[in-house]
């Protein structure tokens, strides 16, 4: 693992060079942040450091681990126990056994507790401390999430609102997205709806209520984030905005985390973008 991390780090640090290279290959300055970074992503080709985390996740999923010495193969992600192919494309969804709408991360966490006997706080402690830029650590939960999400690669998001709990979560997610809150007095929507031409400290903002941009963002997570040399999940993406809004800490897989993810997944499901994880992202 140490070697992997070092290799990932060295690849991550290489970001500065291709920035100059891209101007040469396209002949002119690309017209948006996304275009510029796409050229770098292409240049990386198959050398995506996020793949190492998927390998780790595969191991963590299939190996017998935890106080109960079990693997996660009996965990049901909505398509039956152990069925991983296409499961992420339909999440979040309602699960009858827990009576909750759950994200992929929330569902894995529940299975690690129920099937393997891990303590929820132990799994989350590393997952949360992992979320920092300055002290980025490997998180088992993020690795397993990346592994399972990758089993939906090539598929479009197909999140549905069938169960009453899913419909309620959609409305709750909408409220979470549009409600102004936190010390910045901002809603998610203030920066991520009707964003055409908006810049935040020089950075373009994706519109998470427009199918195309929501699809682009959500099909890339879990993503390898170069600045952190780590894979980052959709919960992490939600929490980084929550942090900047100066709200309290959003719990992974909590009702509002699931509701917000579901709300944005509905827009992503209306796009033609296909899941391709781990995506590669420059920064938080």
């Amino acid at each position: 693992m140490k070697t992997i991390k070092r290799l990932a780090l060295s690849l991550g640090l290489g970001l500065g060079v291709p920035a100059a290279l891209m101007i040469g290959t396209t002949g002119a300055l690309a017209n948006s942040d996304e275009d510029k970074f796409a050229a770098y992503r292409d240049a990386l080709g198959d050398e995506n450091p996020g793949e190492f985390f998927i390998d780790d996740g595969k191991k963590f999923f299939h190996e017998k681990r935890g106080p109960k010495n079990e693997n996660l193969e009996k965990c049901d992600f909505g398509l039956g126990p152990g069925v991983l192919k296409g499961a992420y494309a339909q999440l979040p969804r309602y699960f009858a056994d827990t009576g909750k709408v759950e994200t992929l991360e929330g569902r894995i966490l529940g299975c690690m507790v129920k099937l393997q006997g891990f303590k929820e706080e132990d799994v989350l402690k590393m997952h949360y401390q992992n979320a920092g830029e300055e002290d980025s650590r490997p998180s088992e939960l993020a690795a397993i999430t990346s592994y399972i999400a990758a089993q939906s690669n090539g598929l479009k998001f197909d999140v549905k609102l069938e169960h009453a709990a899913e419909k309620n979560a959609y409305e709750m997610g909408k409220k979470m997205f549009w409600r102004r809150q936190g010390w910045m007095d901002l809603s998610c929507a203030d920066c991520h709806a009707n964003t055409q031409g908006k810049l935040l400290r020089g950075v373009e903002l994706p519109d998470m209520t427009a199918p195309k941009t929501a699809g682009k963002v959500m099909t890339a997570f879990p993503a390898y984030v170069l600045k952190d040399a780590n894979v980052r999940t959709q919960w992490w993406r939600n929490e980084r905005c929550v942090l900047a809004m100066r709200l309290p800490w959003l719990k992974t897989g909590s009702e509002l985390d699931a509701a917000l993810t579901l709300y944005m997944s509905i827009f992503a499901s209306q796009s033609d973008e296909k899941i391709q994880v781990p995506g590669i992202k420059p920064r938080a």
Binding site: K125, Q129, G182, A189, L243, W249
Partner: protein
């Protein structure tokens, strides 16, 4: 005269319109009651201290949320009254501080970020906070990054007289933008949030002092 009145009117409409641009959405999750949302929020956020929850439950924002940023006359009065009363001035009553310090407060992004124990990107309360003003405004023309969600403030003092009224207006706006525009997109920076009264006075100087780089030509302007 007629033209200039129209221009003023149009400018006002545009300025107000900007705050409401998000209103294309049919609703803001209005089917979910505040009570139901706050109940879900109680379960969904990890709290280091109970008072962190207050950040989710602000009486002025409650009106802005309920009305989609269009409070009625009584609500406007309520918000303006509450927010004006919340403004605190420096002990020495000096609203015009040191622009060089203000330059730093405007750039700094540190302050108010809440973390889980052991999460190192959370903000250290012993460190002076900044306003991260460049997130939304162009200010010092020499600063490489700027957002455009707020109006550009470059040359702010060049076209505004450094009068007592202008100093107070600028101070109040930075300290509590909702004391003059009830559902302003701009955060309320003053205590108990991010900036002390003295820091706000420094930012006022950064914006209005003729010697500040805000009101000077850019250093590396193309020749």
């Amino acid at each position: 005269m007629k033209t200039s009145m129209t221009t003023v009117g149009l400018t006002l409409c545009l300025a107000l319109g900007a705050a409401h641009a998000q209103d294309k959405a049919p609703d803001w999750g209005d089917k979910i009651s505040e009570e139901a949302f706050l109940k879900a929020a109680k379960e969904s956020f990890y709290l280091n201290k109970p008072e962190e929850f207050e950040r989710l439950n602000d009486p002025s924002l409650a009106i802005c949320n309920a009305t989609h940023n269009r409070p009625d006359d009584a609500q406007v009065k309520e918000i303006l009254g509450r927010e004006q009363a919340a403004i605190v001035y420096p002990k020495d009553k000096a609203l015009f501080g040191d622009w060089q310090k203000g330059k730093k407060w405007v750039e700094d992004v540190h302050g108010g970020r809440i973390g889980y124990p052991g999460f190192l990107d959370a903000d250290d309360p012993h460190h002076a906070n900044g306003g991260n003003c460049y997130a939304c405004h162009a200010i010092d023309p020499n600063f490489p990054q700027a957002g455009n969600m707020g109006p550009p403030l470059t040359n702010y003092g060049k076209f505004r007289p450094k009068t007592e009224a202008m100093i107070k207006y600028t101070y109040d706006k930075v300290y509590n933008a909702k004391a003059s525009n009830p559902c302003s997109l701009m955060p309320r920076y003053g205590n108990p949030r991010l900036l002390t009264p003295e820091q706000v006075a420094d930012i006022v100087a950064f914006l209005l002092d003729p010697a500040s780089p805000v009101n000077q030509p850019p250093v590396n302007a193309a020749k």
